[in-house]
Structures are given as C-alpha cells and as structure tokens.
Symmetry: D3
Amino acid sequence: MKKVITLGEVMMRLSPPAHQRFLQATYLELEFGGSEANVGAALANWGTQALHLSAFPSHELGQAAIASLRRMGINTEFCYSLAGRLGTYFLEKGALHRSSKIIYDREGSSFSKLSIENVDWEKLLEGADWLHWSGISPAISQSAADLTRKAVQEANKRGIKVSGDLNYRSNLWQYGKQVHEIMPEIMENTHLMIAGKRDFEQCLNKSFQDFKEASTFAFQQFKQLKWISHTNRNTYSASHNTISARLFTLSESFRSKSYDLNPIIDRVGTGDAYAAGLIYGLLHLSPQEAIDFAMASGALKHSVPGDQLLCSLEEVQEVMSGKSGKIKR
Amino acid sequence: MKKVITLGEVMMRLSPPAHQRFLQATYLELEFGGSEANVGAALANWGTQALHLSAFPSHELGQAAIASLRRMGINTEFCYSLAGRLGTYFLEKGALHRSSKIIYDREGSSFSKLSIENVDWEKLLEGADWLHWSGISPAISQSAADLTRKAVQEANKRGIKVSGDLNYRSNLWQYGKQVHEIMPEIMENTHLMIAGKRDFEQCLNKSFQDFKEASTFAFQQFKQLKWISHTNRNTYSASHNTISARLFTLSESFRSKSYDLNPIIDRVGTGDAYAAGLIYGLLHLSPQEAIDFAMASGALKHSVPGDQLLCSLEEVQEVMSGKSGKIKR
Amino acid sequence: MKKVITLGEVMMRLSPPAHQRFLQATYLELEFGGSEANVGAALANWGTQALHLSAFPSHELGQAAIASLRRMGINTEFCYSLAGRLGTYFLEKGALHRSSKIIYDREGSSFSKLSIENVDWEKLLEGADWLHWSGISPAISQSAADLTRKAVQEANKRGIKVSGDLNYRSNLWQYGKQVHEIMPEIMENTHLMIAGKRDFEQCLNKSFQDFKEASTFAFQQFKQLKWISHTNRNTYSASHNTISARLFTLSESFRSKSYDLNPIIDRVGTGDAYAAGLIYGLLHLSPQEAIDFAMASGALKHSVPGDQLLCSLEEVQEVMSGKSGKIKR
Amino acid sequence: MKKVITLGEVMMRLSPPAHQRFLQATYLELEFGGSEANVGAALANWGTQALHLSAFPSHELGQAAIASLRRMGINTEFCYSLAGRLGTYFLEKGALHRSSKIIYDREGSSFSKLSIENVDWEKLLEGADWLHWSGISPAISQSAADLTRKAVQEANKRGIKVSGDLNYRSNLWQYGKQVHEIMPEIMENTHLMIAGKRDFEQCLNKSFQDFKEASTFAFQQFKQLKWISHTNRNTYSASHNTISARLFTLSESFRSKSYDLNPIIDRVGTGDAYAAGLIYGLLHLSPQEAIDFAMASGALKHSVPGDQLLCSLEEVQEVMSGKSGKIKR
Amino acid sequence: MKKVITLGEVMMRLSPPAHQRFLQATYLELEFGGSEANVGAALANWGTQALHLSAFPSHELGQAAIASLRRMGINTEFCYSLAGRLGTYFLEKGALHRSSKIIYDREGSSFSKLSIENVDWEKLLEGADWLHWSGISPAISQSAADLTRKAVQEANKRGIKVSGDLNYRSNLWQYGKQVHEIMPEIMENTHLMIAGKRDFEQCLNKSFQDFKEASTFAFQQFKQLKWISHTNRNTYSASHNTISARLFTLSESFRSKSYDLNPIIDRVGTGDAYAAGLIYGLLHLSPQEAIDFAMASGALKHSVPGDQLLCSLEEVQEVMSGKSGKIKR
Amino acid sequence: MKKVITLGEVMMRLSPPAHQRFLQATYLELEFGGSEANVGAALANWGTQALHLSAFPSHELGQAAIASLRRMGINTEFCYSLAGRLGTYFLEKGALHRSSKIIYDREGSSFSKLSIENVDWEKLLEGADWLHWSGISPAISQSAADLTRKAVQEANKRGIKVSGDLNYRSNLWQYGKQVHEIMPEIMENTHLMIAGKRDFEQCLNKSFQDFKEASTFAFQQFKQLKWISHTNRNTYSASHNTISARLFTLSESFRSKSYDLNPIIDRVGTGDAYAAGLIYGLLHLSPQEAIDFAMASGALKHSVPGDQLLCSLEEVQEVMSGKSGKIKR
C-alpha cells in the first residue's frame, strides 16, 4: 500500500443547484474541495494511503471540512486548527454557450497562515512514497510558498517522489511576490510536472515557441525532472468538450486516447482526477498505462458531481478498456 | 441610458422539477414570466431602463409577481392592481423525443381587464425610446387589444420606436374577434416586426407563397415598417435544436451564424431573449451586429432556467465572439 | 377495451438524485417498479385494462407499492398481502463514461413466496386477452417458477395470448434450479418471445451460431410461438445510446427505425416500455406498425424518469410520426 | 364492507414549503383535495368502499387529480372528464400568531359544470349505505346545487343514509342564489348534519339564541334528521389549538374528550377527518364510541400533512385509547 | 407616504435547512439580510418609502443582494458597488435546549469601506422623515463609524428624526477604537434609542444600577433624546420564549402585552421587526399604540423564516387585536 | 484521551422528510445509525477515541455506512466487509397524537454473520478503557450473541470497564434462543447496566415487584456490577415528552433534573446519547455530575436530526448549566 502526501488549501464550495444562475439561487449546495486534497481523495478510493497537510479554522465549518476529508478516507492527522477564515469558492455551473463561473473568496484563510513551524516534518513524511503540490499554494501567501518549498525539500531528502501541478492563476499572487521569484526553487525538487506552455512561461519568466521547446528547456533546467504531462482540451461549449493527454520523459512520449464529453456533469476537479491517475499510474504501471489510466480518471470525473473523483479502481479500468456505459447489475 | 416600455400579461409559471411529467410531480417550481416582460428583464440586465405596463390581482401571488419584476430591475410603477385572476401556465419540460407541454390557465386575468382609462399615457411614455408589444396581448381580450392599439398610437405620436412580436397563437383569440380584424391597425404603428410567413398570413388574412413575398407585402403595406426579423429553428428533438436568425430592411438582409444547442436547459423565453437582443442592437449597434447580438442572446437563453435571460452584456458579447464555454475564474 | 394480465415482483426503487453517486447521497428518490408491472402501467395509459398479479408485505411500504400501481391505473385486486420483505433495488444513474449501477436487495420477498394456491385462477383470467411474464419471476424461487408455469398453462387453456420477456439474468437463479430446467416448459405456452441469442442459449442450454439460428430453432421447437422480437442497442456511453428493433414471424421480418438518444434521462424500464408497445401493437395494429409503435414506446421511455412509461397513445404516435420535439401548447 | 358515496369538487392544492410565505416561495407543494373526497379517502383507509362523484378537465393535471384519488383507494368510475378548469387553492400555512391563508382560484371549474344528466344515478347508488355532501357544492353553481339536491333525493328513495357538512362560506354563493333559497331542500333529505349555530342561521335565514335553539328547531323542521354534530375549537394561535366535539340526537347528547394540539402540522381537512370518523362511527359503533372515534380522527389529522387523514383504523383507535405517542417498532 | 432612510451592511445569510447542524448540511439556504435593511423591508411592506444606504461588491452575489432589497420594495439607488467582499453570516437554527449559532465572516466587506465621500448626502436625505442606524455599523470600521456619525448629523440639520438600535456586540469593535469613544457623538443626534442597561453602560463607559438609572442619565445627557425603548425576553429554550416591550419618554412609560412563542420559526430579525414597528408607530400612532404595534411586529416575526418581517399592515394589526390564528380564506 | 470500544450493527436509516407518512413519501432521507455506534459518535465529539466493531457488505452502500462513521470521527479499522445485506430501518417521524413508526428490515445482515474468528481481539482491545454493548446484538443471531459474550469476557480479562444497554426488544430474538438463555452470561461481565424493571425481568426470566427489587437482585447476582441507570420518560404525545434519569450504586442513588421537550425534533438515539453521556461521566466526573451530564446529553439529542448526538462537550455543559437557548454569536 503506497502512501501519498498532499498539501494545500481546502475550501468550502457553494454552488447553485442544477443550472441555476447565482441570481436565481435560494440555496447553495455545500461541499468541500481543493486541488491537492482532491488528488488525495481519488487516490484513497484506489487503496492508496492518502494524508493531507492543511489548516482550518476551529469553528463548525472548519470541522465539517475536515470531516469531509475523513469521510473520503484521507488521513487528517496533519489538518491543523489555526486562526483565520475558511476559504470559499462560489461555483455557477454553465451549460451550452454559457460559461461556468467561479467567484473566489479565500483571502485570510487559515491555510494561508500555516507555517513551516506548525508541522512535524519527520512524522508527516514517515514512510511516504509520493508528495503532491500545486501552483495554487505558493500563490496564496509567503507562508504557504515557504511551506511548499520546505515540503518538497524535505521529501527529496528522504527519496520521496514529488509531483506538482503548476496551474498558474493570474488572479492569485497578490502577496507581493511574482510567480517566477518563487516557483523555480520548488520545481527543482519536483519529479513530475503537470504543465502546459503557458505555465512554464509564467513560472520561468521566459517565452517559448511551443510546448516542445518549453519541455525541453525544463528537462535541461531541472535535473530531478523525470516526467512532464498535460491534457489537451477542446471546448465546444460548457456542455461539450473533448480531452486527451500526453506524457513525456526526456526521451519518450505517450499519448492517451481522446474522450468525447457531452453533456458534462461537473467540470471542476477533472485536472485533479487526472493528476491522481498519473500519480497512481507512475507508482504502479508502465508509462503508456499510466497516461491511459490518468486520462480515464480525468474523463470519468466529468460525470461525477463535486470536486472529487469518487470512483473505484475497477471503474477507472472499465473506462480505460472502453467498455463502460451499460447498466451494471 | 435608453428607456424601453413593454406591455403585456405576466403569468405564474408552474413547472415540475427536472424532467418529471405532470403526473409525477409532488411540487411545482414557481416563477413568473410573460413574453413582453421577459424582453424587459433582458434589457434591464444590459443597463437599459425597462418599464412594464400590466395589471395584477391584489393578493399575495399578484404581489409576488410584481416583486419578481422589481427584483429583475424592471420599473413596476405601471403595474396596476385590478380585479381578476393571476394568469397561470403549467410547463412540463420535454427531453429527447418527448415534447415540452404547456397547459394555459389564463382566462379572466387582471391583465385581460386592464383598459385604456387605467393608464396615464403621458407619464408612462415620458422619455421613452422604444415600446414593445406582442401578438399575445390583442388575442386575450377586447380590452387588451384596445390597450395595445392605444399604446402604439401614443408611442408614434411621440416619435418612440415600436417593435411587435406577431406571435400568432390559434388557441387564443376567444373573445369574438379574429386576428385580422385587430392586428393591421396595430402593425401600422410598428417599426420592427418579428414574424414569419404564417404570422403575416394570419394577421393579414392573406396567403403568401413564401416569406419573401410576405415581407415585401408588409414593407409596402406598412409605411412605418423598417425592419422584419425572424429565427429559423431545426428541432431534432426536445433536447437538440439548431437556430439562426435573419434581419431584413426594405433593401438589405443580414444573417446570424447558427447555434447548435444540446442539451437544451430551458426552451421557453428564447424568442423573447432574441427580441430583447434585437431591440438592444437596433438602439446601439449596426444591423449586422444587431442580428448577431440578438441571436447570441436567444441562443444563450437556452442555457438559463426560467422565462428570462439573466445575463450581462459581457456574457452575450462573449457568446457573439464564439469564445464562451471555459470556466471563468 | 382489451384486458392484459401481468405477473411479477414489484420492488421499491431507491435512487440518489440527479447524477449523485451512492457515496454522496443524503436522500434517495423513492419509486416502485418491476418489469412486468411496468408493462401493465404503459398499457393502462393507452386505455388497456391492466391487472397485475403479485404479493406484498402488509406494512406501510407494501401498501404504498400497491397504491402506486393503483395510481397508474392498474387493477390491484390480485395483489396479495403475504409475509416477507418488500424487494428493493438501489439505482445509481450513470452519465458519460460512468455506467449506471444497480444493487439488488430482493431476497425473501413476499412475491417469492406467492404460490399457485394463493390465486383464484378462474377469476384472475376471466375476460383476459393477453398474459405477460418475464424471465425474472421463474429465477426468483421455485414458488414463483411454479406460479409462472401455472399462469401460462391456464392462459393457454382459455385461448389467451401469452408473451414472455426471457431476460436471462445470471445473478438470479439462486434457489437450486438452473434456467434450462425451468424455462422450456414456460416457453411452450408462449406466443411472443422477447429474446436475443444469449437468452435462447441460456434458456435452452444450447449454443447457436447467430440469432437467426436461435430463432429458427425456437419456431421449430415451440409450436405455439408466433413472434420473436428484440432490440439492438449501441452503447456509446451511459448518456448516449442508439436503439432499433426487429420483429420476426416464421416467415417474415420487420424492422423499426433507429433512435438516437442523448442525453438519456432514465434507461431503466425502456425494455418494458418496448414490450408494452409490442403487446399493444400486436393486439391492435399490423406487424410493421406494431414494431414501429413498440420502438417509439421504448425510445420515448428514455426521456421519462422512473420505471414506467407514463405517456399517452397520442404521445407515442407523435414519436412514431417523427414529429415530436416542439413545445405543445 | 360498507359503501359510501361522496360528491364534490377536488382541487389542486398548491402550498409553499414549511412555513414560507407566498412571497418567499420558489416552489409550491402540489397535492389534491376537496372536503368530500377527503372524507372518502379517510373511509377508504378504514376498509370502507368509497366512491367519489365529480368532474375534471381532461388535461394532465385533471388526470393527476383522478390518479391521486385512485391511489388513496377511492373508486373513480364516476369522475367525469368535462370542459372547464381544475379548481385551485393556494395555502400558506401559518405559525404562532400568523394565521394560515387560503387564496381560492376555483371559478369555472369542470365540477361547477357537472349536471344531473351526466350521471347514471342508478349505477352510482347501487349497493350504497351512505351518501355525504357538503355546503360547498351548492354554493358553487346552480348546476352543482341541482346535482346535490338530486343526489340526496335519489339516496333517500333507496334508503341510503345521508350526511351533510353545512359548512357555510360567505365568499362562495356568487351565482345569483342565496344560501337559504337552496339549502333547506337539501337538508330535508339529510340524516346527519354537521353544523354550528351560524350554519343553521345562514342556511335557514333565521336567528337563534344559541346552538341549542338552532338544533331543536332543526330536529323539528327536518323529519329525517337523526343526528347533529359539531366541534368546538379554541384557537390560541395558528400553532396551538384545543378541540372537542359533541353529538346530539333528538333526545340525547354525547361529548368527546378534548385534545391539546401544539404544534399543529396541517390544519386543513381536520373537519373532513372528523366527518369521516362520524360516518364510520354511526355505521359501526355506538353514539358515544362514534363521537370518540370521530374526534380522535379529527385530532389525528392535525399531525398529517396534506388534505387527507391517511391513517389506519388501528391508529385512530390508539388515539381514542389515549395510548399513542411512543415509537412503534 | 413617509420616507425612511436606513444605513448598514447587508450580508449573505447561509443556513442549514430545518434543524440540521452545520456538520450535517449538504446545502445552505441563501438569503440576504442586515439589521437596518431588515427595518427598511418591514416598513416598505407597510407602505413606507424605504431607502437603504450601503455598499456591495460588483460580482453576481453582490448584485443578488441588491436585487433582494429591490424585491422587498426598498429603493436601492444608494447601494454602491465598491471593492471588497460580501459579508456573510452562517446561521444554525437551534431547537429545544440547543442554542442557535451564528458564525460571522464579514471582515473586509465592501460596506466596511464605504466612506462619507461616496455619498451624495443632499440627494439621499431629500424629503426624508426618519433615519435609522444600529450600533453594528460604527463597530465595523472607522469608515463606517464616520459614515454613521455624518448621517445622523446631516439628518439633524434637516429636521429628520433619527433612531438608533444601540445593539452592543463585543466581538465586533476590532478596528482599534472602543465603543465609548465613538458612540456618544452619534447618540447625541438620535431621538429614539432602542437599548437596555448593558448597551448604555458599554456605549457610555459607565455603570448603572438598573435600567431606570441608565435611561434617566441618557435623557439628561442627550438633549435630543425623546424616546427609549427595549424588549424583555424570557428564554425557556431555543424553541420557547416570551417577549414584551416598554417605551419611555422623559415623563411617561408604556408597556405592551406579552407574547408566548412556541415553537419559534425564526428568531433572527425579531428585534429589527420591533424597531420597524416602533418607527412606524411613532410616525403614525399614539405612544401606547406605537409600542403595541411594535411588539406585535416583533412577535409576528418569530413566525416568518428569513431576516425580514414580510407582513402587511393588516396582519400586524390583526395580531395587535389578539384575533389572529384562524385560517383566513 | 480515553479509548472506548463499541460493538453492534449499523443500519441504513431511511425516513420520509418532515412529518410525511410513508404513503406520501417520494424520497427518503438517508442516514446511517445503530445504537452502539451512536454512543461512539457522541463520545468522539467529546474528544474520546472511539472504535467500532462491526461488519458491512462490500458494496457501495456498505462503504457509505463505514464512511459515515469515519466522518463522525470513529475509528473504522475493525469494520469488516462480509457477505450479507446492509440492515435497514424505515423511520416515520410522528407528531402530536400520531406515534413514530419503525419498520425493521435487518434480517441476513453482514453484522449478523460476524463471528469471533473474524476479530483480532488483542489488537482491538489494546489500550481500551471501556467497552459498550447493547441488548440488540445478542438478539440478532447466535453469532452476534457469541461475539458479544466473547467481547465482554476479553474486556474483563484486561480490566476494561464494560457497559450494557439491556434494551429488550421482543420482536427480535428470532434465531431460536430466548433472551434469558443468553443474557446472564453477558451481564456477568458488565459494570454498568442501563435497564428498567422490564429489562431485568426479561433478561433474568424472573418477576420483580418494582425497579428497586430488580436492581437489588442484580447487584447481588452480578458481582462486577457497579452502576445501574435508567431514564423516566413521560410521553404526552409524539411531540411532547418530559424526561429525567437516575443512577444507582449498591449504596447510593443520584437523580438528574427533568427536561421538558416540545416539540421534539428527533426522538431516535436519545437513549444512546444518554448512554454516551453516562460513559463519559463515569470516566471523568463524579456520579452526580455523571448523571447530570448524561441526561443533558440525552435531552439535547431530542433537538438533533438523525441518530447521533453531534454536539460538543461545551454544548452539553451549557445545557447542564441551564443557560442554553439564546443565540450564540
């Protein structure tokens, strides 16, 4: 049984039901999610030991967030209670030609105040096989950036593999640092990067002609780096997308099949399901199987409401095999 | 800031949830809507000053109907309290090969009793740029027909542009008059007609070979008439339609792109969103931009539950530009 | 007015709302359904006198199941109260590449204990034109197998036509008998079989090269047999299927058009709607019309939530005619 | 098994959920009910054969109303399809010092158009033991008044007992007749009257000093009259009432115990449950037991949402015995 | 028609349904409310012209908050769009011995950033009869304290009556000032104070032996002060309270009757309903009638879900008269 | 931090919403609960380490049951996956004079098949301070009776305190043994018995004149027995109860105050909350404080929907102190 550590903020997700607009809502569906914990949740479903490092306010909603992780089988021993708010995001699910909308309300969260000193690193990383971070954490606060850097360094010291979903978001990075001042040091300690051309450009403050140039540069720059991966999504409408993925090593590249998705049930967290699939795949499978498993996970997530891929290993494998869709009795 | 007057009945809309049939419903979703007020609501979202002329019973459901207009930013100063019922329509949303169904229950409504004498025309039309009516009002009662005729005449006196959605419905017109006895006089004072071949035939009691002949006749017959427009819809199923639109002047014609719509969230009010888009476009844009904006509005409405297009100017423009569909953070 | 008898178990159907997974559900939608009673419900909507033979526990949920049949217009005079449980099935509706899932929990049901002696056969079959059974009943218990055999024998004695939906399910047949020990005797008294190659193979314990060989064999083997029919379904995903149907007599074959179904609202009971359509068709229409009516029924069911096709004759005919999909006012 | 005929209008009941005001509602709970059919429903639960005479529009909502009666075990053979609307009432449930509110919207209903000629009286009354009417029917239309008068006359011819809940409502009686022009003829053929002092005064156009004088007069005036009964309700608030009942014959009087009711779940239909209990009691029990059973029924109804008392004989008897309230496992 | 200005923050209210705990919630009911706007909403229901001064973020949830005020008939011309968050409060409704809980999450709201310079005071106060503030606003930020002080000064210059609900809350006042440094200057310009002994002690930084001493001191200290009022609540449990009120002038005192409240539907906003009733009463009625009307308003609010008293003048008067509770048809 | 082991069945709880009857339900609220796990859940809220021993089917609903325990903070390491069903109970919540109803459907559950051999007793009991069982387990199957006996014996060997809620239920005990053949051996190893006179009579097959005689006998008979406790409940109606509790040692007795409960939100699990409070109290407090804490827990549970008391230590203490009921901000 492999052990994977994830670190990142968990937010309250508040969403009008069905296809209602914010203006029409009389109630909001309540869930909890966050990019990295979503990765942990998918892995926990597949029999991996998942442990999440984060911080929450001590009030009932903070407790509910932790309870939701526990319910999904995530070890919450390192979910600290700290002063601050519970970050929130409001999600309006789009349809047809109407885009989905997210209003973030996450300033001043407890997670943004979590510091290196709060964590018992030795105990946290004991027996771990993998550590996963995303580019959202270093964008939130200096403290969270420090925490992420420390985590990848400590992981490397212990021979733990590290993955990072670069995921550059321009509307974060409000605390005074720019992305390229922070990210390279974290990337240095990362073995798997999930990133596209634009992510590399922003994180490295450098222009690339195409993804190939960017990935070549990254493999040269970061000696630890073994894998780069990203998905290609065509967005015909908010309801209809197609998606496929690629995985690169220094010398090889692998490609998944493409999935046609219509009508999409929930678009959020599909990248996290993909990342989880990739981690699972690289821990247990060949590269080609890994990218196939990852993309099947990511495709499957489009059918599951909420932030997390709540699907078993068998269900992902069934999608991989192209045999899903019939009623299973 | 332009000012647009709409006049017409507002009904209670009662609808089984999701795809339930009437026979299965244990509750009905409650909203309020009416063709012309729907036009006003869309315009109010776009920064237009919208004012609706109508009548409602004084009881709590009548008050709720007025409150719903107010919420959408419509000026309800000319929403009168009169004896009578609150007209109701029951909507069962179809899916796949099952058609949507509407049961109307609107006889004896307060609106059907609203008369010319109830209205302070001077105050109503003060500062107005546009007046919009539909063919439903003159079909409801003699009183409502008189009201519509009076409104367009008063508008014309003051140089206010007038649009009419002819929208012939054979199951209305129960009060003893035939459509062609009433409509020509109203059409005479109308600058923009939203109408197809069949609408012209019924309103004018005359056969035409095709839409072209009908529109040519209309331009000759009605000297005020500047624009004729209509949409073309292909109905593959209740879930899947395509739609495009055309706009004609005496000398020119303009065509929007076609939108593929699957799965449709709410088909009702899409014509009203289109009409609102056209009014907005003809007030602010070139003819080609107007038909593009109008059809983007109409297409977008298929994704919004309820009678009204609750979308901002930016959202319609995004659809026009063909760039919608991604998550907006 | 034709009279059709159906016999079989009615279960409680418990289903997470919308596209939720079992793990996410905080409530379950409650309905009642069972293959044969579903057939009766559809027929009752079309003006047929439908009577269902079954058994239920006497507690409130058993009463609710009977009341649900009564609501759908089924005569419940032969719905007995017996010791035992109310069989239950839990349905998770799939979407996209995620399959639908059914968890059955039907052991020890009152229906499984219904015996030949409980039934007044004379009164039950009085004036009946048709009797319908499915392969699920003989798979549940020896008692239910005996009941089915007795029913078809008694029907034949009285010149009542008999249809059977062979519907072989490997996870039933737990009571010690194998399918081929039981089914042939029941098939002998059946005039219409709804079955594919695999159904014939299992029921007759015999391999066939293709459907044609199987159906030829069946026509030879069973002298009463007049019609064989089955549907062909392509499952692109849980959301998207296409479906068509065929009907065979000894000398002729008939084919329906194919329906494209996306997005599917409720896949359960579509075979029962098809069977009901076939029974109706063979009672009132020509063979070609029958298979057209049957497939229109089956296609239409994909749009109706729940187990039963709650649609009128006119609605099925509208689908047959290819003219459905517009709003009906 | 006794057979009881009820006659009257069945309406759609639309109600905001929980304690919401009409102004807050985004959906309305949908049920069907009507004073006399409510009586039939309670009786059907107790093993009585209940048959309801009424008329409904032929559309889906009319069909749903009939289906709801069928579900409750009422024979709907004499529920006719006629032109007209489905009468509706909107119910806002009060709480504490806020009164419950009903908005009636029942003009032009199919029931108001049901005439003597529509009914096969011989077949309707065959084998009946009791006929129940209420003062609402004669107040709706001349046609409904004639129907009620005809029904009680035909019942009397056949020796069928007749009960009437006088239930005077001043906001009905809009069709040109006054209550005292119509009611005496109907009362003449009635054996059990549920009525208070004010009901007698209005129906007979006569002042009485107190209930005693009124009832004495009624016993003298109407030779068929055997029983008079009414409840006494103290309304401390919309949430808290107490209630007891009395039953009078020419020579005796009987009194139930008083029930303390807080918090009331649903106040509507409690009088109908009481009437049903009285009919059941007078058909099967002694007068004292009858009034006890009736008041237990009426009290119990305050705990059941909707118009009808959906409770078994055993449940009413448990309340009569004063032993209810514990969890029954 | 009187015109009343209210000023204060409007928050999103998110609340688990029925009696669920935060830990159990899968959705939260969404409403908008704030002490002072709640006062305005009640007054608008009674035919008063209500205008609210506040600020909101420009995103969809801010727009929804403004729309909710508009729906309730409040003039929102002075609801500004400013940077910042939409303040939120999470409400868990208690029951029996379990207290209700509120989690505030209102730091950094747009309202807290609204400054004197944002407001056109001349236009705001034109034609106003009354201005209402509460002690929450000066507790939020220096800017909001300045705004409140400016508002009462400007009101006084124009002879507009001013009321203030002192409402001291210890967990606010985080911006560096203490309550007694800010409040006296605002109180100086206030004619009606809703306050108890503790409010006076905190605001004036002074101990009093009892309410009488406090109010005597206040009448001496503040020359404009004409009325002091407060309610007395006995809290037997979260479900069961009793409440009454008193009104004092320099020379007289008035007392309302006491209301017994069980079970309470919604406790929030009952003080605001009371304040609204008092303002209405002092504008239109005698002092005794005013306190009676005010307490009837406050009592009635316990029965209405949400923050606002959505009741008509007639409904409050009915409660005052002690005649409420029966079904109104 | 104390560690408490609980053992017993966890069932799916399916319940019509609000006060609906089973016959009215269109959906059922889904939760999970069981007497002993409910005890563990309350203890987990109070910072106790709770571990539950049970068995579940491996399908998604079994997984959901385990996840629900995990969410409440219960250690589920000893929740085994075994063949069998997930036991279910259907709960209809009563009101006023209508009793609550439970339909059990628990035969053949996985728990009923859990055997001594499945459990690693050494690991289970390591470091435990307390073990709790109830009389339901030994009533389900021979296997579950053996398991319970083994558990209390193993606990005693290790000096772990044992509590048992005798909870005799006549409709269980279907597997061939009588209660008095099984229980004495389990009671011998129990230090705290929650039991009334009838429980002792049934378990010991012996008549007692009153509770005193029964408890005296028990203290004599069972040498390990240190405490006996029970609650006294007066059931005025399903909505209104009063409750108090007593605790006895060989030489002393303690009495809690009485709580008045109206209207009750959820009656189920109140005995379990009381038992949890008693265990917590006897582990941390004096006997008088223990019975006070226990009854406060039990009273508080009446306000919380679902099976478990989801309340913090502070909330119970607030109830104990008599100061609860106000809004906590």
